[in-house]
């Protein structure tokens, strides 16, 4: 089944500025682990951010879970965002809050204002958070402040926060590029394992082609806002990679 369908997507940061995405079209199936590769500045992050409208697309259509994302009004957009977990390159944790509070913040879309004010999350949310922290290996760090953790541990908090949403899809924006190679592989492995277990499709920006081919079943190649490749990982070869990365001066 198709969970996400993107058609002829265009985006730019200002009306007069250069276009970042120039007509992107692809589909994500509900068992996909999709990689988006390409050189820096190709538009990978913008593409990811357009899916849940952290960046407003200028034209094109995004259908997620039978909902037309691009035309949703504010309130319904928030409902939609609850169904899409995002894992960020720089983790984007709240540094002065505890690990548990960070994980619980994944439930804010389901939490009323009064409960938010008093951080009064229901017991089942706390239980769910504890289970996830156990799964990502941080059960001993529940009460620590987020800024006391190492990079790899912080990204594990990020993973737990995203899964706390019970998402129907995960967006990963360079989840490992702030980490060293060994930790990167561990973190990617963990994401893949959790995604498979919970049957959540993933759309993952990644500039490390090696990691992309290792973990992903489909690949999109972006270059300067254009889609240069879209297909299963097996079809990716040296010539196509060279074409995608052709603009990068070595």
């Amino acid at each position: 089944m198709t969970i996400l369908k993107v058609t002829d997507l265009h985006a730019s940061y200002s009306t007069s500025g250069p276009e970042i995405l120039k007509g992107i079209t692809f589909e994500v199936e509900d068992n996909d682990f999709f990689a988006i590769i390409g050189p820096s500045g190709a538009g990978k992050s913008t593409l990811i951010r357009c899916i849940n409208r952290l960046v407003e697309p200028s034209s094109g259509e995004i259908i997620f879970d039978d909902r037309n994302v691009t035309t949703l009004p504010r309130g319904e957009l928030r409902m939609l965002r609850r169904d899409i977990g995002v894992i960020f390159q720089e983790f984007n944790l709240i540094n002065r809050m505890s690990v548990m509070d960070n994980v619980l913040s994944g439930r804010l879309g389901y939490t009323g204002n009064l409960r938010t004010l008093f951080r009064a999350f229901p017991r089942e949310d706390i239980d769910h958070g504890l289970r996830l922290l156990d799964r990502v290996g941080l059960i001993d760090h529940v009460d620590k402040r987020a800024d006391e953790l190492s990079g790899g541990q912080r990204q594990r908090v990020g993973i737990a926060r995203a899964l706390m949403q019970n998402p129907k899809m995960l967006l990963l924006d360079e989840p490992t590029s702030a980490l060293d190679p060994k930790i990167s592989r561990e973190v990617m492995g963990l994401i893949k394992q959790m995604a498979t277990e919970l049957k959540v499709p993933c759309l993952c920006n990644i500039h490390d082609v090696q990691l992309a081919t290792e973990f992903c079943n489909k690949i999109i190649g972006l270059q300067d806002g254009y889609m240069k490749f879209n297909g299963p990982t097996e079809d990716m070869n040296k010539e196509k990679l060279d074409e995608i990365y052709a603009m990068e001066v070595l």
């Binding site: 928030r78 960020f88 204002n113």
Partner: protein, 275 residues
């Protein structure tokens, strides 16, 4: 690269000496003008404007100074209530100021102001108005509006505090890391949740530091507000001065000093513990 070097004008010792001579002439000219200005100011504001006869000889000046040395112990019991009042004016004034600052900082932070063309200028105007008018003038205004007592003092302190606290808070908000904001938006959080989870934790230590710093300054301010009838130690000071009880004046000054030192000590400790 090498071509450009050839186009540079050839430098000679004549050019360098000429330049230095010129700049020496300008420097000397500027110095002469400044000296003339200072001399003129001294003539007009000090020599012409001072009542030299009243001042008398140097010995007279020393004697007048000497009148202040000494403490009026009888005044002590009358100082307790005004000291507490001064302290409370500073505390309540700061608290009220902080409350006024919430909309001012929210409107005045470029990145979160709700409707930039209207709300941003409103906030900036509040901040400028608050800071560019002296606390004594604010106090005079509020004494005229609500009458004598501690209340106009509290209002004056509150209004005068808005400028600094709101400006620093707005700047702290503008400097936040946008990452957590993006994260809370992406889980489906609303504006209030973004504020509580992504903005407040980032600015809180800085803003608390600013508030405590302002509170310390407000103790100083509230100590003089009584001069215009807005309660506290200033009022006692004014009365002692009017009755020529110079020892009493000194006693009040010491009380003010003690209160300020207390405020500074508290402020220093609290700020160190939160930053």
């Amino acid at each position: 690269m090498t071509e450009e070097v050839h186009h540079l004008p050839l430098m000679t010792s004549d050019i360098i000496l000429e330049r230095r001579r010129n700049s020496r002439i300008v420097q000397t000219g500027v110095c002469l003008v400044l000296v003339a200005l200072v001399a003129w100011s001294v003539q007009v504001t000090i020599i012409d404007d001072t009542d030299w006869e009243r001042m008398g000889s140097f010995a007279n000046v020393l004697e007048a100074t000497n009148r202040f040395i000494g403490i009026d112990f009888a005044l002590f019991k009358d100082l307790i209530v005004p000291t507490i009042e001064t302290f409370m004016i500073a505390c309540l004034g700061t608290l009220l100021g902080v409350i006024i600052c919430i909309p001012a900082a929210w409107f005045g932070a470029m990145n979160i102001t709700p409707f930039k063309p209207v709300t941003y200028p409103i906030a900036r105007m509040m901040m400028t108005l608050s800071r560019s008018i002296h606390e004594i003038v604010w106090a005079l205004f509020f004494v005229a509006v609500v009458g004598l007592g501690a209340l106009p003092g509290i209002f004056a302190i509150a209004v005068r505090s808005v400028g600094f606290i709101a400006k620093m808070s707005a700047e702290a908000i503008e400097d936040i890391d946008p990452g957590p904001v993006e994260a809370i938006r992406s889980v489906g959080g609303n504006n209030l949740q973004v504020l509580i989870y992504a903005i407040l934790p980032q600015i809180l230590p800085q803003v608390l530091g600013v508030i405590i710093f302002e509170w310390e300054i407000n103790i100083r301010r509230s100590a003089i507000l009584g001069l215009v009838g807005a309660g506290g130690l200033g009022l006692v000071f004014f009365r002692q001065m009017n009755t020529f009880n110079y020892h009493g004046v000194m006693t009040v000054i010491i009380a003010v000093l003690g209160l300020i030192l207390l405020g500074e000590a508290v402020s220093h400790r609290v700020r160190r513990s939160i930053i």
